[in-house]
């Protein structure tokens, strides 16, 4: 088991810069989830660590050893691919044993390791089957087994659950977490799914356009998003982001012509500063004396409902409330100031008391 260090990692394909400098350190046994929309460079980052791509600049250290120039075969890592990438002409057993045979392990040792891994994953009855005779979930388990038997220094997961149906995804997510905890292998897990990211990671790295925008624990990322991108990306439905102007010595924001009072001295910026007020749909409360919003659509989600409202064209608001009275055309709401996030309108960065949710340097 070992740690992973990335130093100033850059990657360009031709004139297009995919990764614009990533520094990262994983502790021994840590599971770090890299999350971001497609095209943010998260898969490229993983492929660089795997050695399937060569960085344009920067260094990769696994267990303190510089592996930047090494072939994947020399890095002692294991990777689980989105499409499983099982060897179609080999049985499940041979798929798992392939890497061990290359290492020249004796037959008995290979047998023992594969048996152990397949017991862990519930694959004992399938060892003689070919990949095409397996279901998606079973294939995913074989891919995991192939990674586990190798006892690698590092696990890499490239969106391993994306090809599974929703129910199986939840189940496999739990299994991956349990396995990783039990085996204590340092892991890098790439996904675009924020639920996977929140549930699996010890820490999250949110990527946006080739730049890491926030590296923190899932709770921290959720409660103190570093900028408007993270605020809008993590959480479902997404956080409301309303443009406004700061006033009254930083104790009020004017949104769509209405002044909203804030708890005193929470936000350090001059009056008249253009800001974005963020509040999660579940934190907005109904308030007969609050700001009025014309209702556009109401979506019923069983026990809860989503109300989409719009005011003055530019400001739209989503509210998540427990099933309440019949909706009128206009709702009145207020924003409890302990749940209000403020961001700089020009930079998108969080305007917040220091010490929480600061973006990585």
């Amino acid at each position: 088991m070992a740690g992973l260090r990335l130093e100033g990692l850059h990657k360009s394909f031709g004139a297009i810069e995919i990764l614009k400098g990533v520094d990262l350190a994983l502790a021994d046994g840590e599971m770090l989830v890299i999350v971001g929309a497609s095209g943010c460079g998260k898969s490229t980052l993983l492929r660089l660590v795997a050695g399937l791509e060569t960085p344009t600049a920067g260094r990769i250290l696994i267990d303190g050893r510089d592996v930047t120039g090494l072939d994947p075969s020399a890095r002692d890592i294991a990777m689980v691919f989105q499409n499983y990438a099982l060897y179609p002409h080999m049985s499940v057993f041979d798929n798992m044993a392939y890497g061990l045979k290359i290492r020249g392990l004796p037959r008995a040792a290979i047998r023992a390791k594969v048996d152990e891994a397949s017991a862990l994953l519930g694959l004992e009855a399938l060892l003689e089957r070919k990949p095409r005779q397996l279901s998606g979930g079973q294939r995913q388990r074989v891919a995991m087994g192939r990674a586990i038997v190798r006892d690698p220094k590092l696990f890499l997961f490239d969106e391993p659950l994306s090809n599974l149906d929703a129910k199986l995804r939840v189940q496999m997510r739990g299994e991956i977490r349990r396995l990783q905890r039990r085996l204590k292998v340092t892991s890098l897990y790439v996904t675009h799914d924020q639920v996977e990211a929140m549930t699996l990671g010890d820490r999250l790295l949110v990527m946006h356009q080739g730049v890491p925008v926030q590296l923190a624990t899932p709770t921290e990322v959720f409660e103190y998003p570093a900028d408007t991108y993270v605020a809008g990306f993590i959480g479902s439905p997404a956080m409301n982001l309303l443009p406004g102007v700061l006033g009254r010595n930083g104790t009020a924001v004017t949104v769509a012509g209405t002044e909203i009072a804030l708890a005193p001295s929470r936000f350090a910026a001059p009056d008249g500063h253009a800001v974005i007020l963020g509040i999660r749909p579940e934190h907005v409360v109904l308030d007969p004396s609050g700001m009025s919003w014309p209702v556009e659509i109401v979506e019923l989600l069983g026990s809860e409902m989503l109300v989409h409202a719009r005011r003055g064209g530019e400001a739209s608001l989503t509210i998540k409330i427990v099933h309440g009275p019949a909706m009128s055309d206009v709702i009145r709401v207020s924003f409890p100031s302990e749940h209000v996030h403020l961001f700089d309108q020009a930079t998108g960065l969080r305007l917040t008391p220091a010490g929480s949710g600061v973006p990585p340097s």
């Binding site: 795997a50 050695g51 399937l52 072939d71 994947p72 075969s73 020399a74 890095r75 890592i77 294991a78 990777m79 691919f81 989105q82 499409n83 990438a85 099982l86 060897y87 179609p88 002409h89 392939y98 890497g99 290359i102 290492r103 192939r146 190798r150």
Partner: protein, 293 residues
């Protein structure tokens, strides 16, 4: 998704396939029937009378040491051409499949020989290996290797094998390249991460996944070498010296057209036809099986 167009009635469908049926009849069924008919006849030396001799022509054929030698020679020729052209094409395809600068250029260049007419290709090789005026041929003689494919049967065989194999490399190259590109990249990447390198990775991962292409090309190349190399061999040296490069197809032509032994030549054609049918059956069987799995 299969598109099916159904034509009404019987007349229109019949009309639509008529041209193909006509072609098949005129250029295949008719001559084939004629060949079978004349394989059972014997003509006198002056072509004035013919008599029915049943299977005598076939009996004579398989008792003729020259014919048996030609079978052996054809087998050797086929094996060498197939091995050489498939081996070279596979090597080139593997190299062209990699990330190399200007690979579109290489790939185009490698496909060109296929567009060269067989006789032209043969002339090209003759010009290179001519003992006096050929670049390679003259050089061989200069450095002390006695080279004259017009006198030495083994050298003649080597030259026609080279010329015929070269012609087929492009075809094989296209299929091998397509086959290699059809192998999912992540499988090869998974093997790399598993610690597999170079030749070992090729042997344990790439080649097994390429086997359908290999089987297909094996049959196609055997058919090509056995039946489609007439023009090449004929243009190089007409089957000589002596009968050293006289494959079965060449022998049919020389015996029938040049030496006017219609009966024997027809019998040989019938034997060849049986050979083609067997090979085609094998190929269909194989292709059919691939469609199932």
């Amino acid at each position: 998704m299969e598109r099916r167009t159904l034509f009404p009635g019987r007349l229109l469908p019949a009309l639509l396939i008529l041209p193909q049926l006509l072609l098949t009849f005129v250029f295949f069924l008719w001559p084939a029937a004629q060949a079978i008919w004349s394989s059972a006849m014997r003509e006198d030396a002056f072509g004035t009378s013919t008599e029915f001799v049943g299977l005598d022509n076939f009996a004579d054929l398989f008792a003729d040491p020259l014919y048996l030698a030609s079978i052996g020679r054809t087998a050797l020729f086929c094996a060498c051409v197939t091995a050489l052209s498939m081996g070279a094409a596979l090597l080139l395809a593997v190299l062209a499949d990699g990330e190399i600068r200007g690979r579109a250029f290489y790939r185009t260049m490698l496909i060109w020989p296929y567009a060269v007419a067989p006789a032209m290709a043969a002339v090209l090789w003759v010009l290179m290996f001519h003992p006096q005026i050929g670049l390679v041929g003259a050089w061989l003689n200069r450095i002390g290797i006695v080279w004259d494919y017009k006198l030495d049967g083994t050298q003649a065989m080597a030259l026609v094998i080279l010329a015929a194999a070269w012609k087929q490399i492009s075809y094989n190259f296209i299929f091998f390249l397509a086959g290699l590109q059809a192998i999912p990249k992540t499988i090869v990447e998974a093997a790399r991460i598993d610690g597999s390198r170079g030749v070992h990775r090729f042997r344990t991962i790439v080649l097994p996944l390429l086997m359908p292409t290999v089987y297909f090309l094996l049959v196609v190349n055997l058919v090509y070498a056995a039946f489609d190399t007439f023009a090449t061999i004929y243009a190089v040296n007409g089957g000589g010296p002596a009968q050293s490069t006289q494959t079965l197809v060449l022998k049919v032509y020389l015996d029938g057209v040049v030496n006017a032994n219609i009966g024997s030549s027809s019998a040989q054609s019938v034997v060849l036809m049986a050979g083609v049918i067997v090979l085609c059956a094998l190929q269909f069987r194989f292709l059919g099986r691939k469609a199932v799995t």
